[in-house]
């Protein structure tokens, strides 16, 4: 009897993670190699609870709608798999569940924490002769995975951020005399998302200053520049990464809270800097956090990003069919086309790809034009949504049968 394929989502939402899910399901259906196609409800949590959607009979229309739906339609998790020696019987439990549900192929879709999980599970399965291929599909708005030229999720977030920055620039430009407006962008310790705001300058409506975590942030120098621009133009637009740090490596204006992976909880640096400017220089300011829409604005998805995500999902199934356990799908975009290859998922696990420092301007407050050669192909085209009641129509996984 043919085995089942199990797909699971992990980590924070992106606009196109479901396009990867759609790619996995479409390719698995077409391959005719699997008995059932399952999707875990809430990622690893769903696996451990044996809570699965049955996607085997999804129609092409459903798969298409899924592919255009933002966030994580099957539910995600922030599950951290400990090392084997500290994990009790978790690894064996996973193996047992997979065996019980006849899972011969596991496709895990997530960021670098999730690739660590992929790596550990595939290693355990090999060591213990568990007959299940484990393949990773990259996903993150932060674009901070190594070995792949870019990550599905980044292009759509970049397109939303650049477009929104352009629109905010038009907004703050309406008055002769305005404010210093500071927009805080996601991305943790990687400046890829914040760097995408430089796109807006192509239309002449972009940020005056752009600050990334990869360059030490000098608060006094920032105040000097922002105030100078404000006095010159009567307004100033700043893009700042949530993860900027001072020369000693401390987050600027961040709280000390930590998440379940012991990552610092970021957010608030824009408001912190804006308040400081108002207090010290008496200049009107506004802080804008682009916030959650950066990673879920399905109404402005990049078609190139969507297509890459779908392709990555299909490629994962192909890698699995070739028996390439312990690999992640890596992407290479050249102009209009993307190719995929398998890379050792252990090379990706827990690593962070920094933004290339050489494309940051020498003053640390801008991005060189050469970065656009990298970025522009990733944000081309718009996913055409179907609208119902004036809003995009999205897929709801609860219509699927449970196993």
């Amino acid at each position: 009897m043919a085995k089942n394929l199990l797909y699971a989502q992990s980590g924070g939402p992106t606009v196109v993670i479901n396009a990867s899910a759609a790619g996995v399901i479409a390719q698995a259906q077409q391959s005719l190699k699997f008995e059932k196609i399952l999707a875990a409800h809430y990622g690893m949590d769903g696996i451990l609870a044996e809570d699965f959607f049955d996607c085997s009979s999804m129609t092409n229309k459903q798969i298409d709608l899924l592919s255009k739906t933002p966030a994580a339609a099957f539910g995600s998790c922030r599950y951290h798999l400990p090392e084997q020696e500290n994990a009790g019987d978790v690894y064996q439990k996973i193996a047992d569940i997979f065996q019980r549900h006849n899972v011969g192929c596991f496709v895990y879709n997530g960021g670098n924490d999730s690739m660590d999980t992929c790596h550990k599970i595939s290693k355990y399965f090999k060591q213990h002769n568990v007959d299940c291929v484990v393949v990773g599909v990259p996903k993150t708005v932060d674009n901070d995975l190594v070995e792949t030229s870019h990550c599905p999720g980044y292009g759509s977030a970049a397109k939303y951020i650049a477009t929104t920055m352009q629109e905010i620039a038009l907004d703050i430009d309406v008055y002769k005399s305005g404010r210093i407006t500071i927009c805080e962008i996601m991305g943790r310790d990687a400046g890829w998302l914040t760097a995408s705001t430089c796109l807006a300058n192509l239309s002449g409506n972009g940020p005056d200053l752009i600050y990334l975590p990869e360059h030490p942030f000098d608060t006094e120098e920032f105040f000097r520049r922002a105030v100078e621009i404000f006095h010159q133009k009567k307004k100033c637009l700043v893009a700042v990464s949530e993860g900027i740090r001072d020369k000693d490596g401390n987050y600027v204006g961040a709280s000390t809270a930590r998440d379940s992976f012991n990552h610092a909880q970021l957010g608030g640096v824009g408001a912190f800097l804006a308040n400081q400017i108002t207090q010290r220089f008496g200049i009107k300011t506004r802080a804008v956090e682009l916030s959650l829409p950066q990673r879920c604005a399905g109404h402005l998805a990049s078609l190139a990003d969507h297509d890459d995500a779908f392709l990555a999902g299909r490629s994962a199934v192909n890698l699995a069919l070739l028996g390439k356990s312990g690999q992640m799908v890596a992407l290479e975009r050249k102009g209009d086309s993307t190719t995929c290859r398998g890379v050792d998922v252990g090379l990706v696990a827990n690593k962070v790809k920094d933004f290339p420092k050489h494309v940051i301007t020498d003053d640390g407050a801008g991005i060189k034009e050469e970065f656009l050669h990298y970025l522009l192909p990733l944000i081309q085209g718009e996913v055409q949504q179907t609208y119902k009641n004036g809003m995009p129509l999205y897929f709801d996984a609860s219509v699927l049968p449970k196993v």
Copy 2:
């Protein structure tokens, strides 16, 4: 010799104010009744500085691009015209400038403060036999002008807000156990924008609780409801207007700052409530301000709103040609079509149209379905933008000659 038409923008940006500008320019061109079509650079400030764009020779392509551009392409102002007795020679100065530039028709596009300006100027012109017709075009995302069934700008803001709320609902739904997420919506003392979030519930992905300024906000009762929903669903999504007040009429969590019209500076109530919940109940929260994109997200403009704004601009020119000075264009939408009529601008000046209390649910935490009959026609259809470099292409008024 034919006289000139002067158009000016005022108040905060909207997504479709430039569609009204485009309607004015297109209709003025077609009428062949005007020597020149001028647009003030920065509204009343531009008038007093005699700083005008010449729109007489704008091409159809330029007018079309202008109509799809958010914010205020000619620049806006927050100019407050005092009563005649306190205004020194300002009224006479405006009359002199209009005479010097041969302005026989003045179209002013703004909210209730701007309609007050329209009213005062038209009254002065009549009293002093200044040969210039003054017509107002409504504009505000807040939808709070009286005499018109709805305001251009509201539909697009509502469409963006409802869509974004739906996407945020999908985002916060990805984890089995989430947070209490509080989204703060614009609208000052009127709950129209916040009410539009109820649309998202049509897809099953909307806020659990919706709070408008028109219903006294009971903080303790809110905490009780939000915490109860959180314990039930492991997540809770709240939409709250920036202008909610307690039973004594005090803004909840607002600062005491005032703007140039002596309006309270709002913003921050979402973060205030989120912090309180975390401190008192130890529940993870997130505050999201939808912020500036609510009024400038041209990438998600409502086609119905755009068309209404354009029509309002055209109708203003028609009213002017009929000599109807001191009138504002009022809209009436019935199903797919909108009609326009002139109303006395004095009836609109400085008044605020409250959200109808009878469509707020009895507990003050939701919107009744009957509101959708009003809202749905206003958000239908999507303005198709032209994309360049992966971003919408917008009009730049600096290409126009100055007078």
